[in-house]
């Protein structure tokens, strides 16, 4: 599969952003006491993990 260059760059950009988000959510979750907030953060972690897997597959497709 061949993607346009700007698309790959855009995905790269999102992957970098999401990587920091996921790292932050994972570490910050340990600091939180409120259960509801903990749940939301866990959900964020799950969603971000799935999204990052999507990016990884696109990016490895883009690599020639």
């Amino acid at each position: 599969m061949n993607y346009a260059l700007h698309e790959v760059l855009e995905v790269h950009e999102m992957a970098a952003f999401k990587t920091t988000c996921l790292t932050k959510s994972k570490t910050m979750k340990a600091l939180v006491t409120d259960q509801l907030l903990k749940d939301i953060m866990q959900q964020d972690i799950d969603v971000s993990t799935r999204q990052l897997q999507d990016y990884a597959s696109i990016l490895s497709n883009a690599k020639q």
Binding site: N2, A4, L5, H6, E7
Partner: protein
């Protein structure tokens, strides 16, 4: 540059030039629209505002996709062949610069007299 704007040679390639420009304008507007609505969504708290904006966001993304595909099909837009795109970019920039240098409206454009006040105001 040919200063005679009525010279028929100038009519060559005008449809392509016009349509690529308008299509590009439509594409940029669609893009800008999606971004505007996304930003508005991150600022809205009322549930019905959010529902409406979300619907329009999806429509905007679909419209953007349609314009992109149309432009690719018509060969007005080459996201996958960057040097093709480069040629188009330079061409339309040059053509538009040429138009920019034209003295298109040599006579007075103030048409206020045509929209004058109602008769009984005199």
């Amino acid at each position: 540059m040919n200063q005679d704007y009525l010279d028929p040679i100038n009519a060559l390639h005008v449809p392509e030039l016009a349509d690529t420009t308008f299509a590009m304008d439509l594409l940029l507007r669609a893009k800008e629209g999606v971004r505007n609505i996304a930003i508005a969504l991150t600022e809205s708290a009322s549930p019905d505002v959010r529902t409406l904006l979300r619907k329009q966001l999806m429509l905007g993304i679909a419209m953007h996709q349609e314009i992109t595909e149309l432009m690719i099909n018509k060969k007005w837009f080459h996201p996958y062949e960057l040097s093709e795109q480069y040629k188009l970019d330079q061409l339309s920039a040059n053509n538009t610069l040429m138009i920019g240098k034209m003295n298109l409206f040599p006579v007075e454009t103030n048409r206020k007299g045509m929209f004058d006040r109602t008769p009984d105001e005199h």
